[in-house]
Symmetry: C2
Subunit: 218 residues, 2 copies
């Protein structure tokens, strides 16, 4: 092979940005305490890093970046809020594939490439979550869609991680260290993203609930 | 036409139950105050009515019943929590079509029948929401799915109701009286339910936010 220093190698081509791929999250943090404002602002500040774009409004916080950076941000922000000692509920909304109301035009091979998350550091915060996953599978030229197939595959994957503790109406229940729960949610989302162009996941994650303490370990 | 009193009229046939149609909601209420427990429990108690089945666990509350009863329950519960004067965020998750992890077998003509909500009484609580709708449109024998078509139709409908105030990443912003915001979310969900067998909607609804007050009326 000839020397190619005058031409960029294929791997040096500019990869599509998270914005082009429609990758990101919305986070809402709900510390159930009179002093909720400093807990929320402190948590978002503690998680800030140059690799993610963060825009906070009065309802939720938008986070954009490569998948592993977004997940690391979410883990740090929720952990910091939980460290306040208050009962905290976080709502996490992950999306990939269709930025906003714009139709997707990105090539399948790029959009559906495998993405893996590195291991997440243990948070030492016990979390209980209600998790839902939406593979928006319209099918393709050769086949109808089958959104339930993606849901089942993601639940099986979460089960293999040991965090699935129940099947409730409309959601799957996950319990474990926050890192394991959030990891299962994100991995299920990425797993289905390999076969469906537009995948969204929602998780309501509860930490430090007095109801959970009263009920004992679940 | 002959007298038919010896045969039940078609309308007297047992209608499918909300459980059979997979219709219901999950609600999580987050009052940002040290006294959050009585606010949550009081709000759920204030909204209770015989027409809905309610199951509360440590993460969220499951509500099942006919659509208009479920929506009335949600409106009453969120209003009661907001009446505490605390900053309250509610997360509402509406679903119809696929009960839990079970595949849908209900006939299309029944599942996709038009359902209308009566007008909701004004709550006198200003609400700001981030709203997402997921028509899980796998297509049918004759066509591919097109989930974005349902989303666009529901947003247009909400716009006609005057509550759409912005288009954010992954969500549509709604502002207005809680009844109008919740009504637009539920009507969009039911509108799309007439063409897609499995439709889910999520809304993060904020009331009494100090950020919103600081930013002035939006």
């Amino acid at each position: 092979m000839s020397i190619t220093e005058h031409h960029p190698a294929p791997t040096a081509h500019a990869a599509p940005t998270p914005a082009e791929l429609g990758i990101g999250a919305r986070l809402s943090l709900h510390p159930m305490t009179d002093g909720f404002v400093p807990v929320i602002l402190g948590a978002l500040r503690a998680a800030a890093r140059p690799e993610v774009e963060v825009v906070t409004d009065d309802v939720s916080t938008f986070v954009r970046g490569a998948e592993h950076h977004v997940v690391a941000y979410l883990l740090d922000a929720i952990s910091a809020a939980a460290a306040s000692g208050a009962h905290v509920v976080a709502h996490v909304h992950l999306s990939r594939g269709c930025p906003g109301e714009v139709a997707c035009t990105v090539d399948d091979a790029i959009l559906r490439r495998p993405v893996t998350l590195g291991p997440l550091p243990r948070s030492h915060h016990a979390a209980s979550a209600h998790w839902a996953l939406y593979p928006l599978d319209d099918g393709d030229a050769d086949r109808r869609g089958d959104h339930m197939a993606g849901i089942f595959a993601a639940i099986e994957h979460a089960r293999s991680l040991g965090v699935v503790t129940g099947s409730e109406h409309f959601v799957t229940r996950l319990d474990g260290d926050l890192a394991d729960v959030l990891g299962a949610v994100a991995q299920g989302w990425l797993l289905v993203g390999q076969r469906v162009r537009h995948v969204v996941s929602h998780a309501t994650i509860s930490l430090g609930s007095p109801s959970a303490s009263a009920a004992g370990a679940r």
